[in-house]
């Protein structure tokens, strides 16, 4: 008897989906990046309530998984925190378009006794710390931009992400630009061969390790830091200013980079010019096939992208994501017609 309600509801679900499909509902499957998952699930949910005949099912299995599934043709579109490489695009049997959706930023967080306020980090300092070349907190490279802060002479404990992630991608992209040494010896990617440091799983793993370990430094997503009230430092941008990451600074970085944005939107906006630009930020992308045979699916995807670029952007700040700058939105609107 206990099982009856469960069984009944299951049956109900079944008939509901079957019924819905016969009514012309379009069911889209997507998979990929975990970083934008909170906003994506909000979008897909709101979009579905406003357009009951379109339903998008998103699996946040990671950018690599999203790209693989898209290439294998098991999903209708993918999502990734890093743009696909030329090599990956050449492997694809069909043309793939990139559509930036929101902006994210990565911030340095630390646990140093005696450093209460925001620490200022030069690009050289961050690269040196992560290369293992700067090993003490009172190293002149860290101390100089922080006058008045009494930094301890203890060893720095470096913490990085252990799982492959878009956060690491943005961080290593930035470090590659900050240091030629990093670029040639370590490189950029969702996982790299870290010269030093402990690995923590996820933002929560990294911030947990940093919180617990005296004299440590790590990096986490801006939205994670904001939502959990985790203090983080300022980073020097290319204009020499120390910028504390916030949503405006991230959007301004994207706006500054927009002049050079290529038509396929595959662009890194770390170290963007502009006095107010925060240097460690990035787009995250939807990966959509240029040719979609099924007309219903094609129209649904096009319509969703249009909605995402207009009404959808209003949900960004509520979830601590930065808005796309206007010129990017305009350019993307034009690119929608490429989906055929």
């Amino acid at each position: 008897m206990k099982k009856t309600p469960l069984l009944a509801s299951l049956l109900l679900c079944l008939t509901a989906t079957v019924g819905a499909q016969s009514n012309g509902t379009v069911l889209l499957n997507a998979a990929g990046a975990t970083f934008p998952y909170p906003i994506y699930s909000k979008w897909f949910d709101v979009y579905h309530t406003e357009h009951p005949n379109a339903q998008i099912n998103y699996q946040s299995i990671g950018s690599g998984g999203g790209i693989r599934q898209l290439l294998a043709g098991t999903v209708d579109f993918g999502a990734s925190d890093g743009p696909m490489t030329d090599e990956q695009l050449s492997q694809a049997k069909f043309k793939i378009l990139h559509f930036p959706t929101v902006l994210g930023a990565v911030v340095p967080t630390y646990n140093v006794q005696g450093a209460a306020g925001d620490l200022n980090f030069t690009q050289k300092a961050l690269a040196g710390i992560y290369m293992g070349q700067i090993t003490k907190w009172n190293d002149p490279e860290i101390a100089k931009p922080n006058p008045g802060v009494k930094l301890p002479g203890d060893d720095i404990v470096v913490v990085h992400r252990s799982d492959g992630s878009g956060t690491s991608y943005i961080w290593t992209d930035f470090l590659s630009k900050a240091s030629a040494d990093w670029k040639s010896k370590v490189g950029m990617g969702t996982s790299v061969n870290w010269p030093v440091g402990l690995g923590g799983k996820g933002n929560e793993g990294v911030s947990g390790l940093v919180k617990q370990t005296p004299n440590s430094i790590g990096y986490i997503e801006l939205i994670y830091a904001v939502q959990n009230n985790i203090p983080y430092g300022k980073v020097q941008n290319v204009s020499g200013k120390f910028v504390k990451a916030d949503l405006a600074g991230v959007t301004s970085a994207a706006a500054a980079a927009v002049k050079e944005i290529p038509d396929d939107f595959r662009v890194s906006i770390t170290n963007a010019p502009g006095a107010g630009s925060y240097p460690i930020s990035s787009f995250t992308w939807l990966l959509i096939p240029a040719q979609i045979q099924d007309a219903a699916k094609r129209n649904a995807i096009k319509d969703f992208v249009k909605w995402m670029l207009t009404e959808g952007q209003n949900y960004n700040e509520g979830l601590s994501y930065a808005r796309l700058p206007k010129p990017v939105l305009v350019k993307e609107m034009k690119a929608i017609s490429l989906i055929q």
Binding site: D163, G164, G187, G189, N193, W194, L198
Partner: protein, 326 residues
């Protein structure tokens, strides 16, 4: 119908077929076939697993060959992959966990089976079975919030001052590392050892104990010299079960081991295990070679488990020959 029956009685050939039909009616043959199929499924599953791992790791196997096993670099960007630090980390954490868990588990099960009043024994056994069912991420959280701080502030410094002359307890103590990983694993596998060993000890016939007592041995002597040797095979089995779990554990280990693919003599140093790196990097692995190397790691883990289990069986056979119970 009756004619047919008479013919049947007269002609005895096809006895095997008839016997089969007869037993089929009785249900014996059905049970036989069904259970055979299920047993064969295990074999099929295992061989398919190996086949998949073997085929999908081809790229990495042809590129690195045997060097894969002792290369110490893991560099997804430049396409250099080696399993050595992960094999080392997996073995070290498993050994540490068994060193801690076996004495604890054995002592616990002996108390519960031999010395404790039955009511107490049953209720504690119930709780232990409950522990065995706790998801590993919970143990990982326990590790992060309790074991890691204790290791950094208390246990680590104590070990360092007492045993610091050993290379095992030298170097920087971050709180996360091989030892912490081993301790958390030990907490996870102790319930397995206690639960299975207790059951095995309870199956030892009471005549054995009575005979030993009648010969003038004390309670402890009868337990240690008669009951334990009698149950030895089963106890070993529980330990191998624990070992298998320790080798394959992913979530709890990755949360406390530090995830740094390095080989260090110190137990305080951060390390990495095979299961942990697969779980961490598989979802974001984009390159074909990268993916193939991760799958080869899976193959290595499978073979390690296979070899260790084989050695364990040999150990059982060897000790049985040495004497003891039938």
């Amino acid at each position: 119908m009756s004619a047919a029956t008479t013919i049947e009685y007269r002609i005895p050939p096809q006895p095997r077929f008839r016997a089969f039909i007869h037993r089929l009616r009785e249900g014996d043959e059905v049970a036989h076939v069904l259970t055979l199929v299920f047993a064969a499924l295990i074999l099929l599953l295992t061989s398919m697993l190996v086949y998949e791992l073997w085929v999908n790791s081809r790229l990495s196997r042809t590129k690195f060959g045997w060097m894969f096993l002792w290369t110490r670099v893991w560099d997804p960007i430049f396409g250099n992959f080696g399993a050595a630090p992960f094999i080392y980390g997996t073995l070290v954490t498993a050994i540490v966990s068994l060193v801690i868990a076996v004495p604890l588990g054995l002592a616990g099960s002996i108390f519960l089976a031999e010395l404790a009043p039955p009511k107490l024994s049953d209720s504690i056994a119930f709780l232990i079975d409950l522990l065995a069912a706790v998801p590993s991420v919970i143990y990982g959280l326990l590790g992060i919030f309790i074991v890691v701080p204790v290791m950094r502030t208390t246990l680590g410094p104590v070990l360092k001052s007492a045993l610091g002359f050993l290379p095992l307890f030298q170097g920087r103590n971050y709180g996360v590392g091989f030892l912490t990983g081993g301790i958390v694993l030990a907490i996870m596998v102790v319930p397995f050892i206690i639960s299975v060993s207790r059951e095995v000890l309870l199956t030892v016939p009471s005549e054995q104990r009575e005979a030993a007592l009648a010969l003038g041995s004390t309670r402890w002597e009868s337990t240690w010299k008669v009951v334990i040797p009698w149950a030895r095979t089963g106890i070993m089995g529980s330990i191998f079960l624990a070992l298998a779990r320790a080798l394959g554990e992913t979530m709890a280990v990755t949360m406390v081991i530090g995830n740094d693919p390095k080989i260090s003599a110190s137990l305080f140093a951060p390390g990495y295990t095979i299961a942990a790196v697969i779980a961490n990097e598989f979802t974001e692995a984009t390159g074909d070679l990268y993916l193939s190397a991760l799958i080869e790691l899976g193959l290595v883990l499978f073979l390690m488990t296979f070899i260790l289990n084989g050695l364990a069986r040999l150990l059982i056979v060897a000790t049985e020959r040495g004497g003891g119970h039938p």
